[in-house]
């Protein structure tokens, strides 16, 4: 990673699409797949309204997010992120690919790292 930042690029989605009616599926170019339940992705919103810029703490109160919240539309931002337009009117979150990768909810990614567990 450190030796060649100019050329080395971490995984990028091949496709951001639907897993079902409302949930979001990200297919990565390293063949990994991430499935974000719609509301979980809304709760992950990294924008300044949802996360304190000073402390990095999450300000967004989950109980204030409608249970049935869903993405209405998703747009690419440059070559590094997506912007999600939500049914609750929120759309200021720019989800970088790296951020999505870090927050992949799959068991493989969530598995706690322990020695000898490669």
């Amino acid at each position: 990673m450190v030796d060649s930042p100019g050329n080395r690029i971490s995984p990028v989605p091949v496709e951001v699409g639907r897993a079902n009616l409302h949930d979001v599926r990200v297919r990565w170019d390293d063949r990994h797949e991430s499935l974000f339940p719609a509301r979980d992705l809304r709760l992950l919103c990294p924008c300044a309204v949802c996360v304190s810029e000073d402390t990095g703490e999450r300000i967004l109160v989950p109980t204030q997010v409608p249970v049935g919240v869903q993405p209405l539309r998703i747009e690419a931002v440059g070559r590094y992120a997506i912007q999600v337009f939500w049914s609750d009117g929120h759309s200021s979150g720019i989800y970088s690919f790296d951020y999505l990768m870090e927050n992949c909810p799959c068991p493989l990614c969530r598995r706690p790292v322990s020695p000898g567990n490669s």
Binding site: D3, G6, G17, R73, I94
Partner: protein, 303 residues
């Protein structure tokens, strides 16, 4: 083609944004900003540096002019909120005029020019912060009718802070150019710019070494005052292409100071040839990068 010179008189308020508050139009949404640039502009090339004073604006202007001299349609966007200097370097005296779908850039030496200085009240740039500044940036990005362009060169503010990041986040970037001087200190901060673009998944097209060496005007001898070659080595270490070097040369400064950049004023001089060679290398890098992107494919959004 050029802006109407007989237009608004001095003293009268020529445009809503000139020397006054930002235009009353609502700030474009991020999507509108992207849309407004995407259809007509083929390649968007941000030019960045770790710190100010390394010649980023001088290099941006001369590269833009060299590309245009080879027949390309070129625009230059001066996004340096701290010290917008492109209008001075290009000797631009006109202000942009409003068109049906946004401001029409000023034309100068065959390239289209928009500068943050057209939007910011003189002397007040530094106190602009937060939402106000970001709103002005959105106006600046989304409210301009660039038309059809092959290359849009973006002169970024020096450094890698929030403004640089948010500017880059809002524009669909093709690949970045880093300008540095060969000193170690400058190179270390230039590396931060490299990391910023990496975060944005924006490829680095290459690094330019400015004020690389000194050509003695009387004997023509080359002196390596800062230890030339630093950028090439840093580029090699980071896996970044080396685009070329520009000598430290008083004439380059004089040309910029009087609004006639070297590539325009003395196109066959060794100094201009250095800029033109860099532009040529840059085009080659852009083309190979475009092929790479086509091969690896863009992210498809099917939601």
């Amino acid at each position: 083609m050029s802006a109407d010179r007989s237009g608004p008189k001095r003293g009268s308020k020529p445009l809503a944004m000139a020397g006054g508050p930002p235009p009353p139009r609502p700030a474009p949404t991020p999507a509108e900003v992207r849309e407004s640039l995407i259809p007509g502009v083929k390649y968007v090339i941000p030019v960045a540096s770790g710190k100010g004073g390394v010649g980023k604006s001088t290099v941006s202007a001369n590269i833009a002019l060299a590309l245009a001299a080879d027949g390309a349609r070129v625009g230059i966007m001066d996004g340096d909120v701290y010290g917008p200097s492109i209008p001075l370097i290009l000797g631009v005296k006109d202000k942009p005029t409003p068109g049906p779908n946004g401001l029409l850039p000023v034309e100068r030496y065959g390239i289209k020019v928009i500068s943050m200085s057209f939007f910011l009240p003189p002397g007040e740039a530094l106190i602009w912060r937060g939402p106000m500044l970001s709103k002005t940036i959105d106006q600046f990005l989304g409210g301009v009718e660039w038309g059809e362009l092959d290359y849009l060169i973006v002169d970024l503010p020096p450094g890698t802070g929030d403004i640089q990041l948010s500017l880059c986040q809002k524009i669909p970037l093709t690949g970045a150019v880093i300008v540095s001087t060969p000193q170690d200190a400058a190179l270390r901060v230039a590396e931060r710019a490299v990391f910023m673009f990496q975060k944005l998944k924006c490829p680095i097209l290459g690094i330019v070494e400015n004020m690389s060496h000194f050509l003695c005007p009387s004997c023509g001898n080359r002196e390596e005052i800062f230890g030339s070659g630093g950028c090439r080595k840093t580029g090699e270490r980071l896996g970044i292409a080396f685009l070329g070097e520009i000598p430290l040369d008083t004439q380059i400064r004089i040309d910029s100071d009087r609004g006639r950049p070297t590539v325009i004023d003395a196109p066959e001089s060794p100094q201009a040839l250095a800029f033109r060679q860099i532009a040529e290398n840059l085009v080659a890098r852009i083309e190979s990068q475009a092929k790479e992107t086509a091969r690896s494919g863009e992210t498809r959004i099917t939601f």
